[in-house]
Symmetry: C2
Subunit: 410 residues, 2 copies
């Protein structure tokens, strides 16, 4: 018998209990022993819960029960989750989590604590919800040097952008719709400002490049300033605007890492990922581009990834296949020095405005777009570093052409 | 030191040697020991080969060398590859392969032989080339009951169909182009008739449903009868035609399995997979839809999947995580009884033809398409089993309306 404890009985935690309890036969077949949820830890009361007999309020019951082999941490955040994870590992129990914040900030010390106690700390569900990403990257692509990761890592923002593109909604209208459907929270800041995607790209970059990258090192830009006019000009250029987490190895050995909206050509599979779906594209030196696609959030998809890790902890015997990284000097390069092409949207679709832009930017590619108002124009620049772009935008403004937005091309 | 032998020095075999020999440091980091290619077995002569000193002609050298831990079988086919795989496993060596034909036909006995000798038989590269599919399905989706697999599993046919769609080429012209570019062989039969995709969907179905499915049990239809008019009518219906390997659990507990061209709605991510790329969509009861995308063939992508398996065989110690299935009574249902909607293309875009069709098929949906000649019409039927469809098509022909093609909708 293998006893599992689920700590935190919210959306993900209840999904984990549901999958384990309704797939008992399958889990026994895959682990070689019966698997069951022995405890559910939550300080709240749950009346008439079908698994009410398993609920305890005190984590130390789990900590002190030698029968519990694996603890699922489904609390979230960095406070209680951090403390309980440390205590579980120290008590010789494997810990499985979907907590991207805790993994992004504290993975290295938790890996070390797990190793010292001969147990494992696993986190497949922390990125991409139910989509297999962590294990494929570390095992299936093990023969590759990974050079770039590029992902739509947040379903809320992808839903909003998709609705702006397909239904011509404004940002505000699309956000309200997402909230009404339960895809966005009442306080949507963590999603729309890019912080959620930031934690996930940090985890992927740390895994791919072997050294911890912290959220504070990442340049973050959300989607709040994307206007319908940006969407329209992007479409005229055969592109769609998506919020991407990107991490790319540079020639100087360091990495470019950012969370930003990008114009993606419609020929790129990432451009076709719509609604709440997520997708992660990985470039390896041998395999070229691979992409993993699916539901990046939600009760059962996320719980399915958690339970896959639970199965792994229960059937592993003497295997030292650890998925981890180490701390070290920062590997993050100065983003402002990395060159991109930009779409610059200006106030006025006139020859005079484009002539002024050409004078300052050098060669530009004007985007013809009859479907946007005559008060908007847009052009694509040559490759230039962000600091140069900002400097030139300032000069263009001084020359009397108002710049309304600038967005990078992928 | 871990010694590897590569048997068969063709495209994949030479890619494997290249990756192992140029990524030594990375392999050592991942396996905990230096990894090197000790032997390359091939009966052919290779003049001035950089790894010429490793080439031997006699497989028994490998078989009798206790230092060789893992053998890469990159011969292909079912004759010599079968014999050498058996001998290697019997000699206590792990075997890693990209040989879909051997896996599709002989996996069960090879799994048993591997287990009896306490070694492993691994085959990630046999489906989807470099795309991680086998391991994600069996490990990351372990908490799911998989209910459907649907994949673009053959790059040659996908290239041909893509060119027919995007460049309006005929089948013959697209095939010639694929041959000129090296994407299709001089004798393209195994690809264009669907046999290659068939072996792959057999492997995926066997893995997902736990019981061996043999290629002979699968209904196969290639792409040779797809005409530009089919492509045009599909486009008018917002669909693209792709060759799909499909395996789906039915209510009767058995499975539907086929290799056939399908009309796929452009809203489905599979429809956007173009050129030589492959994609596999998997539906699990908890995770919903996931998709894995990438290069389904080619020297380095395929070799990268082989080497990932090699790494796995070398670092596993005492782990019994076997990826396998067993033989058993056939789980394949009679395909002709499974209902689909069909696009039926007829000779003549006239009211009379559609009226005749409506009389026999019941309600139909005529596809308006001004870009196709007036000699072609097409309509979508309600759901019906294949045997009913064929019967009704016969009646329509008897009523004077020539049926030019019929294609299933996904």
């Amino acid at each position: 018998m293998a006893a599992v404890a689920v700590v935190g009985y919210g959306t993900v935690g209840s999904g984990v209990v549901e999958i384990i309890e309704t797939h008992r036969e399958m889990l026994q077949k895959k682990t070689g022993k019966p698997v069951y949820v022995k405890y559910i830890v939550d300080i709240r009361d749950f009346e008439n819960d079908p698994y009410g007999d398993k609920i305890v309020k005190d984590f130390s019951v789990v900590e002190n029960d030698p029968e519990v082999e694996t603890v699922v941490e489904a609390i979230g955040g960095r406070r209680v989750a951090y403390e309980f994870t440390r205590r579980a590992l120290a008590a010789g129990k494997n810990v499985v989590t979907s907590n991207k914040e805790l993994v992004a900030y504290h993975a290295v010390e938790l890996f070390e604590l797990a190793k010292a106690n001969n147990v494992r700390y696993m986190f497949e569900a922390s990125v991409g919800g139910g989509i297999p990403v962590i294990r494929p990257m570390s095992q299936c692509l093990a023969a590759n040097e990974i050079t770039e990761i590029c992902g739509i890592l947040n379903g809320t923002t992808n839903y909003i952008l998709t609705r702006m593109i397909t239904a011509s909604l404004s940002f505000d209208a699309a956000l309200k719709e997402a909230q009404a459907l339960g895809y966005a929270e009442a306080d949507p800041a963590a999603d729309i400002l890019g912080h959620d995607a930031c934690r996930k790209i940090c985890i992927l970059a740390s895994l791919a490049f072997g050294t911890q990258v912290l959220p504070e090192e990442v340049k973050i830009e959300g989607i709040t300033n994307i206007a319908p006019e940006d969407i329209a000009f992007a479409a005229a250029k055969d592109c769609r605007i998506k919020l991407l987490g990107r991490a790319k190895k540079l020639e100087n050995g360091k990495i470019y890492i950012s969370v930003s909206p990008f114009l993606i050509p419609t020929s790129c599979p990432l451009s076709t990922i719509d609604g709440v779906f997520n997708g992660v594209m990985v470039h390896g030196d041998s395999v070229d581009d691979c992409m993993f696609y699916g539901r990046g959030a939600g009760k059962l998809p996320t719980a399915s990834a958690v339970v896959a890790d639970v199965i792994d902890t229960l059937r592993t015997c003497g295997d030292d296949r650890r998925i981890e990284w180490t701390a070290g000097d920062s590997i993050v390069s100065d983003c402002r020095k990395v060159a991109h092409r930009y779409m610059v949207r200006v106030n006025g679709n006139t020859d005079a405005a484009y002539a002024a832009a050409e004078k300052l930017f050098g060669e530009i590619e004007v985007i013809p777009c009859s479907s946007v108002s005559i008060f908007d124009g847009a052009f694509i620049t040559a490759e230039m570093a962000e600091e140069k772009l900002l400097d030139t935008v300032e000069k263009l403004t001084a020359a009397g052409v108002e710049v309304k937005n600038q967005l990078m091309l992928m």
